[in-house]
């Protein structure tokens, strides 16, 4: 049979249609607009919250998975999936009982075995979880809905650690959780208030969450990340629009309802638009800092590190990282600006405009003789990249020989692990950020460790500081911890474990019709409770 031209054309059209099938599917399943919220988020690259601590992965986790405990707006841990829990007389055994009606998205009930497996996986990855792992003797299920954690000695902050570590503690099905923490979970089946819509996934472009009708929220009102998770929309669609201009245009046109991180230079345009508003959901923001390499010259010398402390003009840095002064504040405490342990011990070095003369003098005292220092410039993160440029410029003005290494975030993480000298591919300074809220926890937050090789990148070392930090776990009351925090900070600013560059609050931009967004003191906020008023 001869193939006619018409057949070829028909085949071609069919092939073309097949390839564009997913987009046609999308057209047919668009639900009513008032019950769908569209949000411009950063790209969701990893869907496994144990594997990655990216904010957007965390928020994905909050949507799809439920947790045993959660922090309320006052940072007090509240039970979520747990119905009742108890502590034994000797304070060494915790018993948890799940509340009724908890179901995974595939219909199976949540059991204690799922919880145990999930915890076992989580504690391999999370700093606080590791502490629990070391201190525990056993974790077992007692019956379908109950499980226990038995400790070798009391650990007062166990509930806090489980409620909110650096790594989210999602409760997954046992078969998903039963794998090492480094192996990615891709099933996205949780028991949370949203269901992941696998069919509408377009990596790098959009992700969709549908309301889980079978979810049984708690009775209490929503409070922070705790309380009843009532979903008031049918669908939430995350769009990845990397170009800020396009995102803003979409927001203004109503094609999207929410932008997670609008560019600061657009705030005036947003505020002048009667349909839009800026809202800081993450009220405590994040602190940008620079960390120095303690193992290599020049920053192995404490005077050189102190020089950096005097050099930084936080106002200038804030201008290039977050130009709107309403959302940018200097930060002088290692415990951030918004935590209960924030204090002003030993902060005499802080001077408006910085003190480059003093810095230069300190560098001389440290014996700096013009050696090259290497500063990372992470090109795919604007705030850090701009800060690095300013840092290089500031250092060069006092005669320091700076090499700026421009690279993507991925290459940076590789090179950062190199402990060697600059000539051998090592580094001297890197800039990054940490959630201000997480700085309340010197046990779970590796930024605040100073145990040399085991500490976080930069490897700061101070035995005096570590001795104080070791007392944190034993401190029973808030006042004791606050006093301890003052002492710790006093030591920190003497040996300078890291230098703060400023605190930035990143407001979101959204249409006024979108209401009920929950403000939480960290950069991961939940999608329940929000709704669209028809406007």
């Amino acid at each position: 049979m001869t193939i006619t031209r018409r057949d070829l054309i028909k085949a071609g059209m069919a092939a073309g249609t097949a390839i564009s099938m997913p987009s046609i599917l999308r057209a047919q399943t668009l639900p009513d607009d008032a019950r769908t919220v569209r949000m411009v988020m950063t790209d969701l690259k990893i869907v496994d919250p144990t594997l990655s601590i990216a904010d957007v992965t965390y928020m994905h986790g909050l949507a799809v998975y439920d947790t045993l405990f959660a922090f309320d707006s006052k940072l007090v841990p509240q039970p979520q999936m747990v119905g009742k829990w108890g502590l034994s007389e000797d304070k060494k055994t915790y018993t948890f009982q799940l509340r009724d009606g908890l179901q995974f998205h595939d219909g199976s009930s949540v059991s204690a075995a799922d919880c145990v497996a999930s915890i076992r996986r989580w504690w391999q990855a999370d700093a606080g979880g590791k502490l629990i792992m070391e201190r525990s003797s056993d974790i077992t299920k007692k019956d379908e809905k109950t499980f226990t954690i038995a400790l070798k000695e009391p650990l007062g902050i166990l509930i806090d650690l489980m409620a909110g570590g650096t790594n989210f503690l999602p409760i997954m099905r046992e078969k998903d959780a039963d794998r090492p923490a480094t192996e990615q979970v891709t099933s996205n089946i949780g028991s949370g208030p949203f269901r992941w819509n696998e069919g509408l996934v377009r990596p790098g472009a959009s992700f969709t969450y549908d309301r889980n009708e079978k979810y049984l929220p708690r009775q209490e009102p929503a409070d922070g990340l705790a309380g009843g998770k009532v979903v008031k929309v049918d669908r939430v669609e995350w769009q990845v629009i990397t170009d800020q201009q396009t995102a803003l245009a979409a927001l203004q046109a109503g094609e999207t309802d929410f932008i997670l991180e609008p560019a600061a230079d657009f705030y005036p345009a947003i505020e002048n638009d009667p349909n839009l508003e800026l809202q800081a959901l993450n009220t405590s923001g994040s602190d940008l800092y620079l960390r120095m390499n303690f193992l290599q010259p020049p920053f192995n010398n404490v005077k050189a590190r102190q020089a950096m402390l005097y050099l930084i003009d936080q106002e200038a840095f804030l201008r290039v990282m977050a130009p709107d002064p309403r959302f940018a504040h200097p930060v002088t405490s290692i415990f951030g600006n918004s935590t209960p342990y924030s204090n002003d011990e030993n902060t005499g070095w802080y001077k408006k405009g910085g003190d480059p003369e003093r810095a230069k003098q300190l560098l001389q005292e440290a014996g700096y003789a013009g050696e090259k220092i290497f500063i990372f410039q992470i090109t795919d993160w604007a705030a850090a990249s701009n800060a690095a440029l300013l840092l290089a410029d500031t250092l060069r003005k006092i005669g320091v020989n700076v090499e700026l290494g421009a690279m993507s975030f991925g290459e940076f993480t590789t090179r950062r692990a190199n402990k060697g000298p600059v000539e051998d591919g090592g580094w001297s300074i890197f800039i990054s950020d940490w959630s201000d809220y997480n700085l309340r926890d010197p046990i779970g937050t590796s930024f605040l460790f100073a145990n040399g090789d085991k500490a976080w990148w930069g490897w700061p070392k101070s035995d005096e500081y570590e001795a104080l930090r070791a007392k944190w776990v034993g401190a029973e009351t808030l006042q004791e911890r606050q006093a301890l925090a003052r002492k710790m900070q006093g030591v920190w600013w003497d040996f300078v474990g890291a230098v703060m560059l400023g605190q930035i609050v990143q407001p979101t931009a959204h249409r006024k019709a979108l209401k009920g967004l929950i403000e939480v003191p960290h950069s991961r906020f939940p999608m329940w409770n929000m709704q669209k008023a028809s406007s």
């Binding site: 390839i19 564009s20 987009s23 990655s52 790098g204 472009a205 201009q245 993507s408």
Partner: protein, 313 residues
């Protein structure tokens, strides 16, 4: 003739093999670790090493190459390191915007370019000719991203006539789809128009000065018949070459245009993949675009034999 086709096919295979090895080696030797990127900002060294192991990034290079080549030949372009999804799926999702832009630009450039070139050749030395020369010099001197921002500023921002950026898929209506593609097509197409118009003009001029054109005129052929039937057909060999080359060069321009206008196509996909060191995507896109280029060249070569009976191998 068949012999010629055979020889061309053999050389195509040889070229693709070279390209394959080159692309594979290029990326495997590059620094930067996809495993580290996957793990996120505060991951530990052990977590990263574990991920590397599981992704098979620690196997010897020749083994990785063999796996990869066999996969490609079987239609399996591998799985994105990052998202865990098949590369083919990712590419097909991004295909519509890129194809829309490329095809529209091709149609626009060829139509306007050839027309312009014919006009300039016909009225050589006149106003149109001078305009064309000036325009084409400018056309391929200004880079596409500069033209792009100019167009956006004057036609979208200042005047609100056209959308600033972005892409609307066809199913949301032909109108929005087309309107969003106007500025990108013009930006990308200007360079090609300049190129095509020039070559058309040059080629037409050569042909127009041939003896047989004078014969046709003497026989009383109309201007139209002379231009199109006699001149264009004879002039078309270089023009076709240029069209073929343009289609192949388009991918470079597409990458830049998609970035300027924020069109979620394959160009952006590959630039993002390069930043993430997502090898399977980078390799697949490079192989496919090279394959496309080679295929187009082959088609153009074969088309020559159809158009110009004098070309025989």
């Amino acid at each position: 003739m068949a012999f010629y086709i055979m020889r061309r096919l053999v050389s195509v295979i040889a070229v693709m093999a070279v390209v394959g090895i080159f692309i594979f080696l290029l990326l495997r030797l590059a620094p930067g670790d996809p495993a580290a990127i996957m793990a996120g900002r505060d991951a530990t060294a052990e977590m990263i090493a574990d991920i590397r192991e599981r992704l098979g990034l620690n196997e010897p290079l020749p083994v990785q190459f063999v796996h990869w080549s066999l996969g490609i030949l079987g239609g399996d372009f591998g799985t994105s390191i990052f998202t865990g999804r098949p590369v083919l799926e990712l590419m097909s999702q991004r295909l519509e915007p890129t194809l829309s832009l490329s095809i529209l630009t091709m149609i626009f450039s060829v139509t306007v370019g050839v027309a312009f070139g014919i006009l300039a050749a016909w009225r050589t030395g006149g106003l149109i000719d001078r305009l064309l020369t000036a325009f084409s010099a400018l056309g391929y001197s200004v880079p596409v991203f500069v033209i792009g921002y100019f167009l956006i500023y004057f036609f979208a921002m200042r005047t609100q006539w056209l959308p600033v950026q972005g892409y609307k898929p066809i199913e949301s209506g032909l109108g929005p789809w087309f309107v969003h593609l106007i500025l990108p097509t013009v930006a990308l197409g200007l360079g090609f128009i300049a190129f095509i118009a020039r070559v058309t003009r040059a080629s037409m001029l050569e042909v127009l000065s041939e003896d047989y054109m004078r014969t046709a005129a003497a026989k009383g052929a109309s201007s139209y018949a002379m231009l199109v039937h006699h001149a264009l057909k004879n002039a078309s060999v270089p023009i076709l070459t240029v069209i073929g080359i343009s289609f192949a060069y388009m991918i470079g321009g597409v990458v830049l245009t998609e970035t300027v206008f924020n069109i979620p196509g394959i160009g952006r996909l590959v630039v993002d993949a390069i930043n993430n060191r997502d090898y399977p995507i980078i390799q697949s896109v490079l192989i496919l675009t090279s394959g496309l280029y080679v295929l187009i060249n082959l088609t153009v070569d074969l088309a020559y034999t159809l158009i110009d009976p004098r070309i025989r191998y």
